[in-house]
């Protein structure tokens, strides 16, 4: 029987395109599904926006719901200063959401189940948000690392703790998405293995569980995209309005 981890295998779909140092860069299934996510998302949003009705139909309603959700998220967590980051945060949300959802289709590859992908996203966002904070507040930005009104004598302990806490953000952000997607997909594969192993006699029980877990996985796929984006909003807010 196929290993439950086989679904995460990276397969080269092309000859090496070019080299970065000694690492050959090829077009992999992971890259293919990233393109697919962007493509499907673009088709969905363009189709949803093509009719522009006052009373939205199903497709337009869905797109408006996603738009409203991200807009509300930025309004609640960042405020008016966050408005100009809406395009980026919306794209981020849609990219992760469609990556997760495409991964729920059997035989597809889930690119968000690789720490390399999620950490690259989280780390890039972390760097950009830190730079936004530094450009906006100058050196005053570093007051983020020392709580307001704490006695100066506690600085040698508090500052390292705050710095570590700050550096742990991209780690928790990326591990959360990666771990949730990986665990969910492994769980589905293992349970599906039980169905086959127990056959027509006892296979019904894991099959029922599998149906429930599949529904849960759709929830997780959506929720993780939501959490990733809302945390980016919260971090952006910290950088813009130093608390």
């Amino acid at each position: 029987m196929a290993s439950p981890l086989e679904q995460f295998e990276i397969v080269d779909l092309s000859k090496p395109l070019f080299m970065i140092g000694k690492v050959p860069i090829t077009f992999t299934n992971s890259a293919a599904f990233m393109f697919a996510a962007v493509g499907v998302a673009s088709i969905f949003l363009i189709a949803a926006g093509s009719r522009k009705q006052l009373v939205p139909g199903r497709l337009q309603g869905l797109a408006e719901m996603l738009y409203d959700m991200v807009a509300g998220m930025i309004r609640d967590n960042v405020g008016d200063a966050g408005k100009k980051y809406f395009p980026f945060l919306f794209s981020l949300f849609i990219f992760i959401l469609f990556g997760n959802m495409l991964g729920m289709i059997p035989y597809t590859f889930t690119f968000t189940s690789h720490i390399a992908v999620t950490f690259a996203m989280a780390f890039a966002i972390f760097i950009v948000i830190t730079l936004i904070g530094i450009f906006k507040h100058g050196l005053h930005f570093f007051s983020l690392f020392f709580p307001h009104g704490a006695p100066l004598a506690t600085a040698p302990i508090l500052i390292p703790i705050e710095v570590i806490s700050y550096l742990s953000r991209p780690v928790s952000l990326s591990v959360r998405l990666f771990a949730n997607m990986t665990v969910g997909h492994v769980l589905l594969k293992v349970l599906a293995g039980f169905v086959v192993a127990l056959g027509i006699v006892g296979g019904w029980v894991p099959l029922l569980v599998l149906v429930g877990i599949t529904a849960l996985e759709f929830l997780v796929a959506f929720l993780q995209a939501y959490i990733f984006t809302i945390l980016c909003c919260i971090y952006l807010n910290d950088a813009l309005h130093l608390h």
Binding site: L54, D68, M69, G72, M73, D76, I157, P160, I161, E162, I164, S165, L167, S168, R169, V171, S172, V175, R176, A179, N180, L219, F222, L223, Y226, I227, I230, I234
Partner: protein, 118 residues
């Protein structure tokens, strides 16, 4: 709509949409704020565990790297682990605090809604 009848104005439509939304809100809660109820709680639960671990891991790895760089094995590893644990707890504390604040504002706005409508 019968022929000759004037199409409803946008204001009228707006009022009708608002009324329908209020009925819906009373039934299933406020929309637009993303997932709510049980879904939201799962989200918070998933967050907290990883926040704790991330602090410890980052602190420990930082200590290890500094040790290798400065040749102070194993002291900075130990310090890094302890500070990282503190940072992990700080992360969890912040998540819990933000959650508490949000719950309070939600409860307050709900109470206001109820006092407004008889």
């Amino acid at each position: 709509m019968a022929a000759g009848e004037k199409p409803p104005s946008l204001d009228e439509l707006d009022a009708r949409v608002k009324a329908a939304q209020q009925v819906q809100e009373r039934r299933v809660g406020k929309p637009g704020g993303g997932p709510r109820g049980g879904t939201e709680k799962i989200g918070v639960g998933l967050r907290i565990g990883i926040e704790l671990v991330a602090g410890v891991v980052v602190g420990t790895v930082l200590g290890l790297l500094l040790d290798r760089w400065l040749g102070t094995k194993p002291w900075l590893l130990i310090v890094g682990f302890l500070l990282g644990s503190c940072a992990g707890f700080l992360n969890v504390y912040r998540v819990a605090q933000a959650e508490e604040a949000r719950r309070k504002t939600a409860a307050a706005s709900e109470a206001k809604d109820q006092s407004r409508s008889p």
